[in-house]
């Protein structure tokens, strides 16, 4: 995995969060950033929303990057601007390097959403992914977004983003709702769960949702299916738990877990590469 100290990665977001908890300054670190990953930028937005005290604004290098410009196009509490109108919705399905969508309810999964998700699939194809894989990723994007809208129980709209680069397509769905643990605990089938990482692992299994066992919970199946035989990286962060799977063998039980500082809601990042090529920039 490419590491770059000047990049806003998910790892850096976790480190910044630890520094904030320890009353250490982060301003100079943020000011020196020169690039960002998609999940890094989105988790930074979730962190900003979750803190009582404000955290530094991101430097021009981030805001003017491809991902930064795309995020600036939509008003989002988790994005780079919280007010103002969204740019007119694109009706065309032309390919994009990066794009974001804000959804506050099921009604937002409308024709604009459909065009957005088609652009994602077409953009993924353009950088070298097979059509079947691109369409599978598009279905995964839909499932993860719908999951967030149904289960997050948050007034803050869900932020969805994608980006593509050299044989790689990536999307991220972020909410700052109740999180996976609280969602599953609301069902008696899962009231025994006590930790965020346990809840994430449970949620990744077939048929698991807060509606009960085998009464839904097919969304993650689509994610795993779309990455079958591809080189994928899956990252699921909720509360104080984080599960990462990397490679072609994306088995829930084999994912690595770590315990970052608590972040509300659920942040899902799905990365798909057509082969194990070294990325030119950090992906997470």
């Amino acid at each position: 995995m490419v590491m770059n100290r000047d990049w806003l990665t998910v790892q850096l977001v976790e480190q910044l969060q630890e520094r904030i908890e320890n009353d250490q300054e982060i301003r100079s670190i943020v000011a020196s950033l020169t690039g960002t990953t998609l999940p890094g930028l989105m988790e930074y937005g979730c962190l900003r929303k979750s803190l009582v005290n404000s955290i530094p604004s991101l430097p021009p290098a981030i805001v003017s990057s491809t991902i930064g410009k795309a995020l600036s196009a939509v008003p989002s509490a988790l994005g780079l601007r919280t007010v103002g109108a969204a740019r007119p919705a694109r009706r065309r399905i032309d390919v994009q390097p990066a794009e974001f969508y804000v959804a506050s309810s099921e009604d937002d999964l409308d024709d604009n959403w459909k065009a957005f998700s088609i652009r994602f699939a077409r953009s993924a194809e353009k950088v070298g992914l097979k059509k079947l894989v691109a369409n599978g990723l598009r279905a995964s994007l839909h499932e993860m977004t719908e999951n967030a809208l149904i289960h997050s129980q948050s007034d803050i709209p869900v932020l969805v983003g994608y980006r593509v680069l050299e044989e790689t397509a990536q999307f991220c769905v972020a909410d700052v709702g109740i999180g996976v643990l609280a969602s599953l605990q609301s069902c008696s089938d899962f009231s025994h769960l006590g930790f965020d990482h346990q809840a994430i692992k449970e949620a990744l299994r077939d048929g698991v949702s807060r509606l009960g066992r085998n009464r839904g919970g097919m969304g993650f199946r689509q994610v795993f299916k779309s990455l079958a035989e591809q080189w994928g990286i899956l990252r699921f962060r909720s509360g104080e738990g984080c599960i990462v799977m990397d490679g072609t063998d994306l088995e829930t039980d084999r994912g690595s877990e770590h315990f970052p500082p608590g972040l509300p809601g659920f942040q899902v990042t799905v990365t798909c590469r057509s082969r194990d090529l070294a990325p030119s920039e950090p992906l997470l």
Binding site: E106, L109, K114, N135, R138, A139, H142, E143, E146, I150, D206, G207, N214, R215, G216, M218, G219, R221, Q222, K225
Partner: protein, 190 residues
């Protein structure tokens, strides 16, 4: 009689998500509202590009329950499903104790189908008997299988179970209720 529904044309080519599945379930019930009881409905997935488990859980599962309601009494067949979707349907069939008939074809009733879902040995033996003899009653099965030591009532109970699962149709013949296969050949574990 049978009714053919092209899902790509009526519902769209992307059948994904729980919310859409719920909406499509309502739409499909409305489309089928005027179909006479006892008819076969062929849900044709030709030209459909995406089917997700979440969609099927909200559309296919309740549709089979709706079809089994005596007021509707319809017999769905899933036509031209792509093989990559069968795992989801197998799971749903298992979770909901349902069975689905999956066939290929363009027009008219297909002559063979694959069973998605599982039957216990007794149900399987009963279905085999219906497929072998065509229209048959519980009393006739008792007479044809004396070595089994199973009475007409027990055979009738098994036939009723298969009827509830939408695998055999039921008609009236005087005081009898004979059961018939929907399709001539069903591949179990196919």
């Amino acid at each position: 009689m049978s009714r053919h529904i092209e899902l790509a044309r009526t519902l769209g080519s992307d059948l994904q998500g729980r919310l859409l599945g719920r909406k499509h379930y309502g739409q499909t019930c409305e489309i089928l509202a005027d179909v006479p009881a006892g008819d076969v409905i062929m849900l044709d997935f030709q030209k459909v590009e995406v089917v997700t488990g979440s969609w099927a859980n909200e559309m296919i599962v309740p549709l089979y329950r709706w079809a089994a309601d005596p007021r509707n009494d319809l017999f769905p067949i899933l036509l031209n499903l792509k093989h990559r979707w069968d795992e989801e349907l197998q799971l749903l069939a298992q979770w909901n104790q349902q069975c689905y008939l999956w066939a290929e074809g363009r027009k008219g009733l297909p002559s063979r189908a694959i069973l998605i879902g599982s039957l216990d040995p007794v149900q399987r033996k009963t279905l085999d008997a219906v497929l072998q003899f065509g229209e048959i009653t519980g009393a006739e099965l008792e007479r044809k299988h004396p070595q089994e030591g199973i009475g007409a009532t027990a055979w009738n109970n098994r036939l009723r179970d298969l009827h509830m699962m939408r695998l055999v149709t039921r008609s009236k013949r005087g005081r009898e209720q004979p059961y018939s296969p929907i399709i001539k050949e069903i591949l179990i574990n196919g």
